[in-house]
């Protein structure tokens, strides 16, 4: 899975370039996001292209947060569609992530 990563003001911004994150591709996601997690403890994950996420996908994203939190870092999410946001709300994961509308807001949030 291709996960392009940009550096913006000392924050890594990774873009998830898939429509769906589910049991079929979440192991691949975990593998391919690992270098970004290693490289920087401040990470923004842009989910604006994602249309569907199931519990495996949510679990994979949560594991990224756990990894960064353990290193006193943070994972912020941006660009969630209504449907993807609903999945986060369903499991109360919207309360453990900082979620913003745009990547700029997410990057900016690291500064505060």
């Amino acid at each position: 899975m291709e996960i392009p990563v940009e550096q913006v003001e000392g924050v890594s911004v990774a873009t998830l370039d898939v429509d769906e994150l589910d049991a079929g591709n979440s192991p691949e996601f975990k593998r391919d996001i690992a270098p970004a997690l290693q490289a920087n403890t401040k990470l923004v994950l842009d989910l604006s292209r994602l249309r569907f996420v199931d519990s495996s996908g949510l679990g994979a994203i949560l594991s990224c947060l756990r990894l960064l939190s353990a290193k006193n870092g943070d994972l912020k999410l941006c660009g969630l569609s209504k449907q993807v946001r609903a999945a986060f709300e369903l499991v109360r994961m919207h309360r453990v992530f900082a979620i913003t509308a745009t990547r700029e807001e997410a990057v900016h949030a690291f500064a505060h």
Partner: protein, 829 residues
């Protein structure tokens, strides 16, 4: 409604267009099913137009929305109902006539939508009809079962069940709404975590997801002003295949998972009890609740930014405990997804929900094992446990908080394994708790839930059931409807209390003669059906004595058969002829796993075979069991009935609605003081019924004091002994020895819950009175007319108006006000 040539031509054109473009066939090549579909699609066009207008009206006026959640909707056939409600039946009849087809034949070709077992599901269907007729902004929510209630066939007197794949032909009444699909999570585990502020944040992880696809069934109200929706959900797998398994190469496992997801809406559970503990049933109930709540919240959020006005804009009525998980689901949505505080969410939930109880027997109340709930719905179990903790803390704080009382009030039964009591959950989470007849509502307070009543007396109320007069008189009995219209006009169609105006006509010999002619014509039609189906000749001039309903011990079809045997033996052994020739007509299904009920069906057939073939009885007694009881069959049997058997053990029938349908069609009730029979007596008068047997208090006393001694009746009354002995003598099973000996043991068992022998003599005497009364045709017809005239209370329009005013707090709707004004003027006699 008068027809015009232009209207008829327009319909002809519409029918031809659907034949060509919807079905792809020339008119002359249409099969009977095609013909029905062409007509239905043409009518559907009009329904959709009115539905869009209705929805626009609701959007403009933003009224409080009523949502009726029911695991069953027993809709029956729809075409005839829509044609009458829209006032276009005559136009369609003429249009079809021009095309060489017959509307009645087309209507007969429609398959029943049997998405229900019996009374509970049919009540839901009658309520939808009334809600639309009263122009109320209502939506029904249910499951789009692929297989409805089984078809019943009879083989050597035994019931055989055949699948009812009613969707195989694609119902023309359903409009698919894939855009409104919703995701329903099940299974998984709770991960105990903290949120960003350090507060406890349980997360529901590792669930599987099922997709609910809504199919809208259009519900027309009489007069054609309103078309509401019944939204039925079909379950689909989240993806066509589970990608992980598919990618792993296990194609068959992937397909199995897809099938497992779709199984959820595959089949209606055929019994209205005995399903506890079944995982699929629990998922089915949650599937309905999750889809409905998601849809209701989505609609609310279209025009509201916060939830502060939710309860004043939305009412949700739970039809029995099957949708009781709504309490936990609405809490979950408000707290977990919408970030409301627990207390605020709880206030909204309670103010929104109303619960209708349909069951008195404590053993029949739904419970779900805690381990099963934890496996299937871990977050909901957590919420239920939290609600229970708060509730019991509150209750424990009062001085009356004895341990036993707390144990009874708890949402959790301390059994092994622990069980969640769904009725307690529904009662705790609803601002209104209603029974379905006066006696039932009293028993809910005093016997079923006295502790809840003591805590929340203001929540308890009664809403006596009702039936829609559109289907159960106007449509099913056009002869009588027309006679009534000629005599007193048509206002009764939407204000059934107006039937009181018929009372004076009961004294008019000419009207009685016309009434008798209508009844006889209905009996001739039913005799034809019996002849066709059973190859049995019955005399339309005999008394048609009808018991049609679910076959169940408490409904006591066995008592009816015992009375028939008594009458038969009086005739052939003692030479005592009955007062009038009778045709005993039974119809009803038994739950496939309910041995007792299936044996009763066998007994009816065997007794019928012996008596129908006995030349000595031929002129006097006939027995017909008409197979595959369903709404469309009920519409033919009920108008032909003279006597209506409503003979449940007092204190067991919550209400009954068959009793109302039969009375409205001029059948005289033979009944116990049970369920709505009591209110029928209040309305119709004891002189116009045949009441017999113990009342509920006497039954309760007999049970408590263990004073029922069936052997005393057996020893004291030679007729009782003679009837009971037939079950051990093989009289009715000469070629199947001992097949009914269990009945002898059953009725002579002091633990016979239904006290057959205690009521037998009183029942026989009541039958004697009925037979004598039938011989005086003038008197009988007067009684029958008064039954019709005084059935006004039992309109579901009245019931729904009461729900609207007293539970849903919906006012201003035209007919609610009309009924309020009209009823008192006509009620007193």
């Amino acid at each position: 409604m008068p027809t015009s040539p232009a209207e008829v031509s327009g319909i002809v054109e519409s029918l031809r267009r659907h034949a060509t473009y919807s079905l792809g066939k020339a008119w002359g090549d249409l099969s009977p099913i095609d013909l029905f579909n062409a007509v239905a699609l043409s009518v559907r066009d009009r329904l959709i137009e009115t539905m869009l207008e209705t929805e626009e009206r609701y959007r403009r006026e933003d009224p409080k929305r009523i949502n009726y959640l029911s695991i069953e909707f027993l809709m029956g056939q729809s075409l005839g109902n829509h044609l009458l409600n829209l006032g276009i039946r005559e136009s369609y009849a003429q249009a079809l006539g021009r095309l060489g087809a017959n509307l009645s034949v087309v209507e007969e070709g429609e398959q029943d939508a049997a998405l229900g077992n019996g009374g509970l599901g049919r009540l839901a269907a009658c309520f939808l009809d009334s809600l639309a007729t009263l122009d109320m902004p209502a939506c029904g929510y249910g499951i789009n079962y692929e297989y409805g209630l089984f078809r019943q066939e009879i083989d050597n007197g035994y019931q055989r069940e055949k699948p009812d794949n009613w969707l195989a032909q694609n119902s023309p009444w359903e409009v698919a709404r894939p855009d409104d699909a919703c995701y329903v999570p099940v299974y998984g585990r709770i991960e105990h975590a903290t949120d960003r502020k350090g507060a406890y944040n349980p997360m529901w992880m590792d669930w599987k997801v099922i997709v609910g696809i809504p199919y809208d069934m259009l519900i027309s109200g009489y007069g054609g002003r309103t078309v509401n929706l019944l939204r039925l959900y079909s379950a689909r797998s989240s993806h066509d295949f589970d990608m992980q398994i598919f990618n792993g190469g296990d194609y068959f496992k992937a397909v199995e998972q897809k099938i497992a997801s779709e199984t959820i809406s595959k089949v209606l559970y055929p019994s209205d009890s005995m399903v506890e503990g079944r995982e699929l049933r629990l998922i089915q109930e949650y599937f309905l609740v999750a889809c409905a709540v998601r849809d209701i919240v989505r609609k609310f959020e279209r025009s509201h930014k916060t939830f502060s006005r939710f309860a004043s804009r939305v009412a949700i009525q739970l039809n029995d405990t099957h949708p009781a998980l709504t309490v936990a689901e609405l809490m979950r949505v408000l707290v977990d997804e919408k970030d409301l505080e627990w207390e605020e969410a709880w206030n909204i939930t309670r103010a929104t929900l109303g619960y209708t109880n349909h069951t008195l027997a404590p053993e029949a109340l739904e419970k779900w094992p805690v381990p099963l709930l934890e496996k299937v719905l871990p977050r909901h179990l957590q919420i239920i446990l939290e609600l229970n903790k708060c509730f019991l803390n509150q209750v424990g704080g009062t001085q009356e908080g004895s341990v036993e009382r707390i144990r009874r009030l708890s949402l959790i039964e301390e059994s092994t394994p622990q069980q969640v009591r769904m009725a307690n959950l529904a009662m705790l989470g609803s601002h209104s708790i209603n029974g379905v007849s006066a006696i039932h509502s009293e028993l809910v307070k005093t016997s079923l839930a006295p502790d809840f009543f003591a805590l929340f007396p203001e929540r308890f109320n009664n809403k006596t059931n009702g039936i829609t007069p559109r289907r159960w008189l106007l449509q099913s009995n056009p002869g009588l409807a027309s006679l009534i219209a000629t005599a007193v006009g048509e206002t009764w169609i939407t204000d059934l209390y107006r039937l009181r105006l018929l009372e004076s006509h009961a004294e008019d010999a000419g009207f009685r003669a016309d009434f008798g002619k209508v009844k006889r014509a209905n009996k001739v039609r039913l005799a034809g059906i019996i002849k066709d189906l059973l190859r049995l000749n019955v005399d339309p001039d005999s008394l048609f004595d009808v018991q049609v309903k679910r076959i169940h011990a408490y409904k006591r079809q066995l008592l009816n058969v015992m009375q028939i045997i008594d009458e038969y033996l009086l005739l052939v052994d003692d030479g005592r002829q009955p007062a009038a020739p009778r045709t005993y007509i039974f119809s009803g299904k038994a739950a496939p796993g309910y041995w007792f009920a299936k044996q009763i069906i066998k007994l009816i057939h065997n007794v019928g075979r012996v008596i129908n073939n006995d030349a000595r009885a031929r002129e006097w007694i006939k027995i017909a069991f008409i197979p595959d009881y369903r709404v469309s069959l009920a519409e033919k049997i009920i108008p032909a009935a003279d006597l209506s058997e409503q003979i449940s053990t007092a204190g067991t029938e919550a209400s009954g609605t068959g009793n109302m349908k039969l009375a409205l069609n001029g059948a005289v009730t033979m009944g116990t003081l049970d369920g709505a029979n009591i209110e029928i007596r209040e309305e119709i008068g004891e002189d116009n019924m045949f009441i017999f047997g113990l009342n509920a208090a006497e039954v309760q006393t007999m049970r408590e004091e263990k004073s029922y001694r069936p052997w005393d009746y057996y020893a004291r009354d030679p007729r009782v002994k003679r009837v009971a002995d037939t079950f051990s003598s093989n009289l009715f099973c000469p070629n199947e020895p001992d097949v009914f000996t269990w009945i002898f043991a059953n009725i002579l068992d002091a633990n016979d819950e239904h006290l057959h022998l205690a009521d037998f003599t009183s029942y026989s005497e009541a039958h004697q009175r009925a037979g004598d009364a039938y011989c005086d045709r003038g008197r009988w017809t007067r009684m029958a007319i008064l039954n019709v005239a005084r059935s006004g209370k039992f309109s579901s329009d009245r019931t729904i108006s009461e729900y609207a005013k007293e539970i849903w707090d919906v006012r201003g709707s035209r007919l609610v006000e009309d009924l309020t004004n009209a009823a008192p003027a006509l009620q007193p006699l």
